[in-house]
């Protein structure tokens, strides 16, 4: 029904169930070793090595553990998880089952953002088919003693719930306010039990890794950012859509791929990401250079970068959970600053103060949202000062 351009995805070539079958043969330690060897890091953006996460969760001593699939895709410019869930949900459920086998968790929860409610019915149907097929439930996949089932829980419109501890809070029936870490969810997660929270894409890739082997995965990408990654590309380019590309690709290469070569700047990582100006298009998109959850927004030559900063800050002001001071009050203060810039009423001294405030917000906020909320603003100020300072009101 809703189509995005996406061609040549590896996911389309994967035989359903093959990865899981191999995983069950490998057993707990074997799966974790394979995932660790692949070098895969969280595809949601934070980039935590999945093998390490599973290992910690597997080591936690608690008979009740949870596998949570984070399908609260809310980062502006990101829609690859929607594509995966629409077309390749089987790989995600398979990945969850592999995770369950790896950490020994009897229960999985898919936390689906409220905006994607239209996907629920089909996902439920697929889950039921898996149950009917013996892939889920007691003695799942025909393996004696292996119990695993997946429940879908819905979000209700809160970007911050994409943060794993906020997601857990939401699951527990609270406001989606991130928790203090440590302790981490792998030790104390949903209802106090060890919980491995993984992004939709990560789980789908893990199914592929178990199927094709970690060596296959490592063939792609860089040493520190192994493998392939889906990119959600939008904005001023000829062919927006979802692209599967190896990590380590340069911005230039990506722009050539999507028909955005005349771009003035690219926002990588959405509202919480950074704005990369033309002069830096030779940089790599990878955890070691420009990290991303996959959001790429292309800005053509005519775009006003102050509009971009404003839109993203408005987003952060509305989506901040509001519990910690720097994020709750820092972002509105930055937004007021943007308004001053727009009106040509911001002194260089105050702008410097705002940049300094932005840096304080980055380092002193409680969670990933707050810590990255000023990124877009700061990178735009850094790279486009001449465009945004000394405006006359009718310039816009």
């Amino acid at each position: 029904m809703i189509t995005s351009t996406c061609k040549n995805l590896t996911f389309a070539t994967i035989e359903a169930g093959a990865g899981l079958k191999r995983a069950l043969e490998l057993g707990q330690a074997g799966i974790i070793r394979e995932v660790t060897d692949s070098g895969i890091k969280g595809r949601g953006g934070a980039g935590f090595p999945s093998g390490v996460k599973w290992n910690l969760c597997a080591a936690a001593k608690d008979p009740q553990k949870y596998i949570v699939c984070n399908a609260d895709e809310g980062e502006p410019g990101t829609f690859k998880d929607r594509i995966i869930l629409t077309t390749y949900a089987g790989l995600v459920f398979e990945g969850m089952t592999i995770a369950a086998a790896a950490v020994n968790a009897p229960k999985g929860i898919l936390y689906l953002r409220g905006e994607y409610t239209y996907l629920r019915e089909q996902l439920e149907a697929e889950l039921q088919a898996l149950r009917d097929d013996g892939k889920l439930g007691e003695n799942a996949c025909g393996k004696k003693g292996f119990t695993f089932d997946i429940e879908i829980r819905m979000g209700s419109g809160a970007y911050v719930c994409g943060e794993e501890t906020a997601l857990i809070e939401s699951l527990e029936g609270h406001r989606g306010e991130p928790r203090n870490r440590p302790p981490y969810p792998v030790n104390t997660g949903f209802d106090g039990h060890p919980t491995a929270v993984n992004n939709v894409e990560t789980l789908a890739w893990i199914s592929c890794i178990l199927n094709k082997g970690s060596d296959w995965f490592r063939q792609h990408g860089t040493e520190k950012s192994t493998g392939l990654k889906l990119f959600s590309v939008s904005g001023d380019c000829d062919m927006p859509g979802v692209y599967e590309l190896p990590l380590g690709i340069t911005v230039d290469q990506l722009l050539a791929e999507v028909g955005g070569s005349n771009a003035k700047a690219v926002q990588i990582g959405g509202a919480s990401g950074r704005c990369v100006p033309g002069s830096q298009f030779d940089r790599k998109i990878a955890y070691e250079d420009i990290p991303t959850g996959g959001s790429v927004i292309v800005f053509g030559p005519g775009r006003d970068m102050l509009d971009v900063a404003q839109n993203f800050l408005e987003f952060m002001v509305e989506e901040s959970c509001g519990q910690c001071t720097p994020c709750r009050y820092g972002n509105p203060t930055l937004l007021e600053g943007v308004e001053m810039l727009r009106n040509g009423r911001c002194s260089a001294g105050y702008l410097k103060e705002l940049v300094s405030l932005g840096e304080s917000v980055q380092i002193s906020s409680k969670c990933g949202l707050g810590q990255s909320s000023a990124n877009a603003f700061l990178s735009i100020i850094e790279h486009f000062k001449e465009e945004i300072m000394g405006r006359t009101v009718d310039a816009v």
Binding site: N55, L56, A59, A60, K61, A158, T165, I168, E169, E172, H174, R175, R179, N180, P182, P183, V186, N187, T188, G189, G192, V317, E318, E319, S320, C321, G322, Q323, C324, T325, P326, R328, Y329, G330, N331, P332, T333, E353, S356, L357, E359, S360, V361, Q362, I363, S364, S365, K366, Q371
Partner: protein, 642 residues
Amino acid sequence: MSDKPISQDTSRAPTSQKRATPIQAGAKDAIGGSVSVTIDGEKTKVPLGTTILEACREMGVHIPTLCHHSDLCIAGVCRVCVVEVEGMRTLQAACAFPITAPITVRTHTAQVRRSRRHIIDLMLKYHYGECYACGRNNNCELQALAKEYGVDFFRFGHPDKPMHDVDRSSHSVVRDMNKCVLCRRCVRTCIDLQEVGVLEAIERGEETTISTYLDKPLGDVVCINCGQCINRCPTGALRANDPTDEVWAAIEDPTKHVVIQTAPSPRAGIGECFGLEPGTPMTYEMNTALRRCGFDKIFDTNFTADLTIIEEGTELLIRLYKALVEKDTEVALPQYTSCSPGWVKYLEHFNPEMIPNLSTAKSPQQMFGAVIKTYYAKMHNIDPKDIVTVALMPCSAKKFECNRPEMCDSGFKDVDYGLTTRELGKMISEAGIDLPAMPKSDFDDPFGTATGSGVIFGATGGVMEAALRTVIELVVGCKVEDLFEHADILPVRGFEGVRYVELPITEVGPVPEIVSHLVPNWDWLKGATLKVAVAHGTANAKKVLDDIKAGGKFSECHFIEFMGCPGGCIGGGGQPIPTSPEIRAARAAAIYAEDADCEVRKSHENPAVLKIYNDFLMEGPCGHLSHKLLHTGYTARGKYIS
């Protein structure tokens, strides 16, 4: 160090936000181990799981805090306590970071100082009000932080007009959200510590505010007026409803005879308003100060505390007799104490079906009001309409209690004004009186003679201890001292949230005269085991009530003392700010010391009490006049908020 906050067991906060036994994958010997930490270049060892904040305090390194409170679970939201932890990309909240592996911490680097200063600047950007026009001037944590960080201008601006109306609907608590800094201590207090659940954060982001249910006035929701939120508010956003202007006006009105009764806890706390250490007793200095302020008579609430013991104890014996001898199955047991107005309103809201269990005896404050406007008025030939009774209490709920419409049994409003310890401190300062320098003076007659039992009402377990001292002597016929050294009934003392004690009655004595009209003998109690319990803080009360409803061991109890506030009255919502377990312990120690010093330590030996039964309440305890003046009824309020 590493003591769990008192709300740990009652809080429903996520387990990850509580002080938990640290679990570290793979570390088998982790529990109970210690870990090294380097703070500003100095290395030390701390127990595993100690927070950075605790480690710093232990080393004498000051870390500013705001949302942190030693009574409450971790929040980590204000971010004022951020520090640098080597190897971590971002700063960490010292209050929320448990040390489970060796770390290196720096507490005042450039970015730490800059971030803290920005956080304070941001709070001030949204904090309306000028310090000199604030009830918390000089006792405000935000003000102190601004001073500490040398704030000399409003970097990001400052509101020039209020954003919220001040909510004055409650008799007890005034809520001014213009001054709120969203530390959420009140929320954690109201839910985790008290299980009242009046305050919560609503909306999100910049719009977040602390609100009552649907932003209704505080007077219309299920607030029990305990004022614990006031005690933990770092700013002037929550304060008590202050009647000092009216009290001054009464004092200055020559036609009024202004009488003040003073409860035991304020004496143990008021010194803190004058820079004294917590737990410095000011009983007799305060009497002089009150006289100099212009009060006509100064009475000791302990008198009616003793009276309460007689009335409430008698009521218990009547209930037990009906249940055990007359086999009356309608009798509500266990009997609950009724002297804490916060607790009483809690029960009226949350467990109205248990109102029959509540002793009908009024609280000492209200008994005193009724006695002053009847017995005392008659004795001194003063028209009760000209008497103004003021009650000095450690409590904000007492303000609500004295305004209960039924509290007019003398024919007048029994207690006109409830004054908190803090408010009296203010009056004394206003009068230019240096309290600690006052000469000592005694209470006025005819209620002057206090007993130790009355004094210990101020601490959790005190009412139970006082009641047991009397019941043991009346029933068993021996001296309490024969059973408990110095008549200190230690099992009911302490700060454990819920305490349970069994007392086997192996011997019984003759029925003493004071209750001889009620029971023929005590034989029916011989061989019985008296089961009692003590709970303080309404979250602990909820635990006990839930157990009773489930038919657990507390349902077998005969008598349970409930106090609305953690620590009992010494931790009341009208006491000086701040509060902490150490401060409350010091105040309690002052109270037990005063008890130990008393010549008479048992309520039934108080000569003034015996005299009032002889001269005025001639039908004895729970008699007709007692019932009219000293007992009351309750309102089943329910928790539905209309």
